[in-house]
Every structure is written in structure tokens, then in C-alpha cells.
Symmetry: C2
Subunit: 115 residues, 2 copies
């Protein structure tokens, strides 16, 4: 795709694009959304799939992603209560449109190894 | 696209995906790459298209994006010397695959306004 695809973008769209890219790119957010897309639902499952994150950070980021409408919290009336965190439609769309980054990163890593 | 697209992703790919998302999402990076895609070449053109960024921050981020191989610096032997900053192929690919964020952000803004 050439620059032409960006020619029509106005400053307001640029600002919103920047806000969204910085939301997705905020430390740990993409990894948490990816974990949700890979099937994580429980807190422990997110922690297992997002290597290196602390409980405190995971708790904070899940709250932020909830506030942004990208993750939904579902409290199940078991004893004790159990809580599941699932990507919302918006969260799923975001991680889905970031999927091409998987291949971009791979190609980039291979180029770096060739140097 | 369903979760199936993410089922095959292994932990190493996850880690690289996270690094790339956090590179793209680092404050100002996406806006600078977008400015380059919108035709910015001179420092002043980037500053004009990336509203709110300081000269000091723009200088630092352009250096980082150069080090990451996403922007290339071209020194032209005019008097005085003039410097152009252009997206590399890798930089162009990255901003191109982030393009869908423009529409995602727009739909998200519209949903937020309806609330």
C-alpha cells in the first residue's frame, strides 16, 4: 500500500489514530489482549500467557482495558465467586487488526539475524 | 476473524508481537510514522504534522526510529546542508498494517459519542 492511502487522513483522524496506537502499544496491553485472544479467561491464565508481568501490573492493566471497553469482567456466582475476563467485540477487533504485526515482527527478526 | 487465527502463536511469537506493538505504540512513534506516510520529509514538516510534540522529543524519537530501522536519514550536500527523514520499507510496512486503526478509532469514537 502506498502513501496514497494516508493522503485523505485529516488531523482529527491522525489524533485518534495516535491515541489508539498508544493504547494498544502501552506496555503489556497488546500482550494481555493477545492472551485473551489465545483463550485466557481467568486471572491466572492471563498471568501464565503474559510472561514477566506482575500481579499488581496485570490487575491495573485489566482495569484500564475494562475502562477502555476492550475487556469485560464476568462474575460467576460460584462459591467462592469466580471471575472471568473476556475480550469485548472492540477488543477482539483491535487484536485482530494487529495480527499482521506477528508476521511483520517475524520478518523483522529474520532480517536482524541476517545482519 | 476468530480466536483461531491466534491459536497457532507460540510464546516467542507473542514476545516479538508485544515488542513490535510497544514500539509502534510508544508515545509519538505512530504519529511520526504517520506523518512520514503523509509526506513529511523535513524536521519542520514532521513537527507541523505531529501536533503537540516538542523539538527535543521529535529529535529523540526520530533517532530511535532510525536505530530501529523504521526511518532513514538522508543528508543532502546543499548549503547549508539539508536533512530529509524518510520511512524505510520496514517503516512503511508497519504504518501500512496499522492503517486499519484509523477506521477502528473512528468507529470507537462514534460509539463513545452515542453513549
Amino acid at each position: 500500500m502506498s502513501d496514497a492511502e494516508f493522503a485523505h487522513i485529516d488531523d482529527e483522524e491522525c489524533r485518534r489514530f495516535q491515541v489508539s496506537a498508544e493504547l494498544a502499544g502501552r506496555k503489556w496491553n497488546a500482550a494481555i489482549l493477545l492472551a485473551g485472544a489465545r483463550g485466557a479467561r481467568r486471572f491466572s491464565e492471563y498471568r501464565a500467557l503474559v510472561s514477566g508481568i506482575s500481579d499488581r501490573m496485570l490487575t491495573a492493566r485489566i482495569k484500564e482495558l475494562e475502562a477502555e471497553g476492550l475487556i469485560a469482567r464476568d462474575v460467576q456466582p460460584t462459591t467462592p465467586v469466580s471471575i472471568a475476563y473476556e475480550l469485548t467485540a472492540s477488543g477482539r477487533q483491535l487484536i485482530s487488526l494487529l495480527h499482521p504485526l506477528v508476521n511483520w515482527s517475524k520478518a523483522r527478526a529474520e532480517r536482524t539475524e541476517l545482519r
